[in-house]
Each structure stands twice: as structure tokens, then as C-alpha cells.
């Protein structure tokens, strides 16, 4: 089971191998052995208690911008406001 939600490193132990990540105010211990030069403030993808990769926030923002622009196209074409709902359902594209 992969958790796709990036978590923020908020503390690193002296050995540099373990630390603490935060997700929405909840803190978890994390292994840092698999990522290069982990730093406080980095966002990481955590799997089975270990950070397996850092999140590239520039790339993440670029992708969000793309999705935003698609939502904007929809808003212009349909005159509908953008809604945030899940789950998605095929069909009308409205909430």
C-alpha cells in the first residue's frame, strides 16, 4: 500500500539516519537512510516507515498549475465554478 501524500521533515536525529515527519500536525518517526542529504523542511514520500524519495516541489507546483489551468478552461467553457469533490464520477463533470 503506497501512501502518495508527501510528509515534511521536521526533525533529524544526530545519527542522520532517523527523524520525524509531520502530516497535518500528526508526527511520525521516519527512516532517512534511503534519501540523499535529508534536510529539515524537505518533503518526502514515506513507504513502510522510510523516506524513499524527496518531493521536487517545483515539479509538484508545475503539475498543480497545469491542473489549475485545465480547471480554468472548464470554468470558462461551462460557466460552472470549480468544485472540489471526490470521488470523481464520469458523466457531467459537475459536483
Amino acid at each position: 500500500m503506497c501512501l502518495a501524500i508527501p510528509m515534511k521533515i521536521i526533525a533529524i536525529e544526530e545519527d542522520g539516519l532517523t527523524g520525524t515527519v509531520d502530516l497535518d500536525g500528526i508526527r511520525y518517526p521516519v527512516g532517512l537512510m534511503l534519501v540523499e542529504n535529508p534536510s529539515i523542511g524537505d518533503y518526502v514520500i514515506v513507504h513502510a516507515g522510510y523516506a524513499i524519495e524527496k518531493l521536487d516541489t517545483v515539479e509538484a507546483d508545475a503539475r498543480l498549475a497545469l491542473f489549475d489551468s485545465l480547471a480554468e478552461v472548464y470554468r470558462r467553457e461551462s460557466g460552472q465554478e470549480v468544485a472540489l469533490v471526490a470521488p470523481l464520477q464520469p458523466g457531467t463533470g459537475e459536483s
Binding site: A4, I45, D56
Partner: protein, 361 residues
């Protein structure tokens, strides 16, 4: 997170997929895509993503759930260890997987010491807390999980934890993809490549499929918009007859993957043939501990050999895992085989195709 779930942003994808579908239909073409990641399988079911696809595009699930492809003989071996008084530490979704005769859950109810962990590090803690007992960690998983388990082993060795060993059933995704692609009964035109396996092995790992076999490949994230964008990318490649590897999850996945994770895996493990439920034995598709670390191999330490187990003869998980049938086409699905009384592994794991199909049908 919400930015990746914008319903409105899904509308243009539906339109684009519909247009691609019309192009394919005009040319009399039908294409088949496969997702090979359990988390993709779940998200596709949960968000009704198949409903976005035109008739000329089929999407099937591949062997993307490590629990689902584990042979029942492996469960039998773990149950055997528990019967000898060994403390078994495992990821939670293994406990309900049917072995040949019973499950770890029933073994636990009968007094077996079976502990579920969310992180392999908890197996180290268990071993340290129980110095007079042997602890065996059920080391099951794809590349994403293999790296954390090896990081745990590295810690165990440095902390001189002597009463812990691993019962390995690690599996590698690329050899399984190669086996599926070589199967004449399965047609795969495009691969929705796994997100976090790719974080370890890198997007370049799929280059041979695109270059040599003309299969469209897109590495996609887990959010519904990521998946829609990924499917759109795959269909676009097929419409324009330009198969290549596109990494749409570059916010996490690098072309060459994670070198730290690759190094630690290579340090401790070497390739071996592995038995996959549904796919049979695939050469070099598994990893075992190198000879110099055989002290940590539970099979050697406990003088145990994992033998092939017995599957329920009516269970069609194997066909499901190859994308040959949809879960609902299995005679047991939703009748004798249900999430709270699973007969096959694809119904056990929340990532299994059958569990996802049942939950969101």
C-alpha cells in the same frame, strides 16, 4: 492535495480521451492498457476512472499487488515457523492470505505469536524486546518495499541484533512485465507504470518496452488527475503511433531512480528465480540474500524450505493478475469469496483487483 482532485480538471481529460477514442474507432483500432500497481488499481476503482475511457480503450489490472502474487506455500512456511514458537512479524495484509490449509490470522487465534507492523523497523524492536526468542520478518514486496526492508536489515546488523531473520519473497516488477508482454494470450499496448516502484528503479527501466516492443509507457502518480493524465498520455502515444517512456510523476520519480536505495538493495541481495501466483516461475524476478548474509535468511537459520503450496482450485486470481479476466468473471467473486471471507489473495489485500472491484462496484 486537493489540487490533484479537482473535478473540473477531469472534464478536459474526458473530452480528450473521447476524441482519441473517436480517432481509434475511425481507424478500426482497439487498444489495451494495463496498470501494474495496486495503488493505481484502487484509485481507478474508487474514482470510477474506467468510466472516462472510450469503448476503444480497455484498461486491465496487472500483477501489481505483492501480497496477491505470493505463493500459498510461502504462507505455509510462515505458519510452520509460528508453530515452532518463532515470533512472526509481518505487514498486516499478509495475515488473511490463504495458505494451502489455513491463514496466519487463524494461527494467531490459536495462540501463534504473529505481530503486524507498519514498518519493518518494528521487527527490530520486537527482536530487541524478546532476546530469548527468534523473530522472523515476512519480507514480501516489490522494489518500493525491498529498499526499506534492507535499510532495516542494515540497522539490525549495525545494532548486532542476532535473533532476527527474514523469510524473503521479494519480487521485481520489470521481469514480470517482460513475462506478461511475452505471453501470446495477453495483449498490452500501453503500460501505466507504477509510481513508487519507479521512484526506486527509475523511469528509464521501462525504456526497453517502448524501444524494443513498441509499448507506450507512462509513469503516473496516484491522484485521480495524475491517473487520468497518464491514461491520456498513453492513448495519445498510441493514436500518434509514437511509443516512448513519459515520466509524468517527475515530482518524485527520476530517470535513473534512487541510487541510495538501489545500492543498499544490491549490497544485500542477488537475483533469483521466483514463483508468482498466476504467472508461474519467472527467471531473475526475485531477490534473495547474498551468501555472506545467509545468517539472516530464515530458511537457512530455521532449516526450512518453502515448497509450492496448493491454491483453491476454483480461484481464478491467476487469470485476474494477468488481466485475462475481470474479477466479476470468477465464479467465486462476491458469492463464496468476499472481503471478510476471502478465498483468493486478490480479495484479501485492499490493493487486490477483486477487493477493489467488490468495494467500489
Amino acid at each position: 492535495m486537493d489540487g490533484f482532485r479537482r473535478l473540473a480538471a477531469a472534464a478536459p481529460f474526458r473530452k480528450r480521451l473521447h476524441n482519441h477514442g473517436q480517432t481509434l474507432a475511425r481507424e478500426g483500432r482497439k487498444v489495451q492498457l494495463m496498470e501494474v500497481c495496486g495503488s493505481h488499481t484502487m484509485a481507478i476503482a474508487r474514482f470510477g476512472i474506467r468510466g472516462f475511457l472510450p469503448e476503444s480503450v480497455a484498461l486491465v489490472s496487472g500483477p501489481g499487488c505483492p501480497v496477491c502474487v505470493t505463493d500459498p506455500g510461502y504462507i505455509d512456511a510462515a505458519i510452520d515457523l509460528a508453530g515452532r514458537g518463532v515470533i512472526v512479524a509481518t505487514f498486516g495484509d499478509m495475515v488473511r492470505v490463504p495458505g494451502s490449509r489455513t491463514t496466519l490470522a487463524r494461527t494467531r487465534a490459536a495462540g501463534g505469536q504473529i505481530h503486524t507492523c507498519y514498518s519493518p523497523m518494528q521487527a527490530v524492536e520486537l527482536a530487541q524486546k524478546n532476546p530469548a526468542s527468534e523473530v522472523v520478518f515476512l519480507a514480501v514486496g516489490f522494489e518500493t518495499t525491498i529498499a526499506p526492508v534492507m535499510a532495516m536489515l542494515d540497522t539490525a546488523i549495525r545494532q548486532k541484533v542476532a535473533n532476527l531473520s527474514l523469510l524473503t519473497a521479494f519480487k521485481l516488477v520489470p521481469p514480470a512485465l517482460s513475462a506478461l508482454i511475452a505471453d501470446p494470450e495477453i495483449r498490452i499496448d500501453g503500460l501505466l507504470c507504477p509510481a513508487h516502484v519507479s521512484a526506486i528503479i527509475g523511469a528509464d527501466a521501462y525504456q526497453p518496452y517502448a524501444a524494443k516492443q513498441g509499448i507506450a509507457c507512462v509513469v503516473a502518480g496516484f491522484e485521480p488527475l495524475d491517473i487520468l493524465y497518464g491514461l491520456d498520455g498513453l492513448v495519445q502515444q498510441l493514436v500518434t503511433k509514437n511509443p516512448h517512456v513519459e515520466n509524468q510523476y517527475s515530482r518524485v520519480v527520476k530517470a535513473a531512480g534512487n541510487p541510495h536505495a538501489q545500492r543498499i538493495i544490491d549490497h544485500y541481495l542477488q537475483p533469483t528465480a521466483a514463483s508468482w501466483r498466476g504467472l508461474g516461475t519467472i527467471p531473475a524476478s526475485g531477490l534473495v540474500l547474498r551468501q555472506e548474509f545467509s545468517w539472516f535468511d530464515a530458511q537457512q537459520r530455521h532449516n526450512l524450505v518453502v515448497q509450492p503450496g496448493r491454491n483453491n482450485p476454483h480461484c481464478q486470481c491467476g487469470e485476474v493478475l494477468k488481466g485475462k479476466i475481470h474479477p466479476a468473471q470468477c465464479s467465486l467473486f462476491g458469492v463464496a469469496c468476499l472481503p471478510d471471507q476471502p478465498l483468493g489473495p486478490c480479495m484479501v489485500s485492499s490493493e487486490g483487483s477483486c477487493a477493489a472491484a467488490y468495494k467500489y462496484s
